[in-house]
Point group: C2
Chain length 141, copies 2
Amino acid sequence: MLAIGTLAKRTGTKVQTIRYYEQIGLLPEPGRTEGGQRRYGNADLDRLAFIRHARQLGFTLEAIRELLNLSDNPSRSCAEVDVIAHRQLKEVEARIARLEALRTELKRMLRECSRETISDCRVLEVLRDHGACLADHQTGA
Amino acid sequence: MLAIGTLAKRTGTKVQTIRYYEQIGLLPEPGRTEGGQRRYGNADLDRLAFIRHARQLGFTLEAIRELLNLSDNPSRSCAEVDVIAHRQLKEVEARIARLEALRTELKRMLRECSRETISDCRVLEVLRDHGACLADHQTGA
DNA sequence: CTACAAGCTACAGTAGGTAGAGGTTCAAGC
DNA sequence: GCTTGAACCTCTACCTACTGTAGCTTGTAG
Ligand SMILES: [Zn+2]
Ligand SMILES: [Zn+2]
Ligand SMILES: [Zn+2]
Ligand SMILES: [Zn+2]
């Protein structure tokens, strides 16, 4: 049985985060020592490793909760799992698209600035006036 | 003079957001009617438009606060402004790089899944084991 | 048997807002 | 001049996904 600190080290998680996951019901309440300290088994280790890995791939805790629920019935079709992963992929792609538009505009602002005074700084000029801006953040996205 | 709702419409901001910006000192306290309602002038309109546009380009409220302070002395060099914009560009580029790694891995997971049962779902398999994953999220980034 | 690291609970704070309750004011229409 | 109701007001709580602190207790190595 592992103490919370050991579990934390093995999974690269902060101790508080583990207690937080328990609080929101993502990790089950573990057994306790007589003195009240948490003790974890290998199932907890696997579950937490799964959560952390999914977090690193950008899944929300809600999505992870669904994935964990689904993985409890091994004989079911994985269609729902794939739907969640696909949704996550779309989410990531949308964020990339948005960030690429920002990158383009930021680069342009900086390229066009003549590095003189504040009063003719191109960066501030663009920020003051979306008309001088080529990004399409006004219309959706 | 504009009521808060009019200002909100003209800048595409929620009324609560305007009050929030005032609360954190990003917008100055405006004049009030006898009954206590806020009334705004054109300077407020410009300042809020600047804030919203900078937000759309991904600047944090802290960065925006600095930009607004800098833009108050028109004769100074714009070097500091450009540093902030450059920092923001780097930030955006870092996020893009990270998201692209996630995108690649999510796509791969989905491509490799044979869409049968949960027990052999490739998506869950990869989530359970970073060894089966090609993303480099463990090491930094 | 004693230190003290590590555990415990409870609460506050982060960014950047958003939502609602419950009460007041403004302005248009009659 | 009076009524009505949309818009305003303050205050509080909530969102995600944690992180940090205070003050106290427990476990374990030497
Ligand atoms: Zn400049
Ligand atoms: Zn723009
Ligand atoms: Zn699958
Ligand atoms: Zn991985």
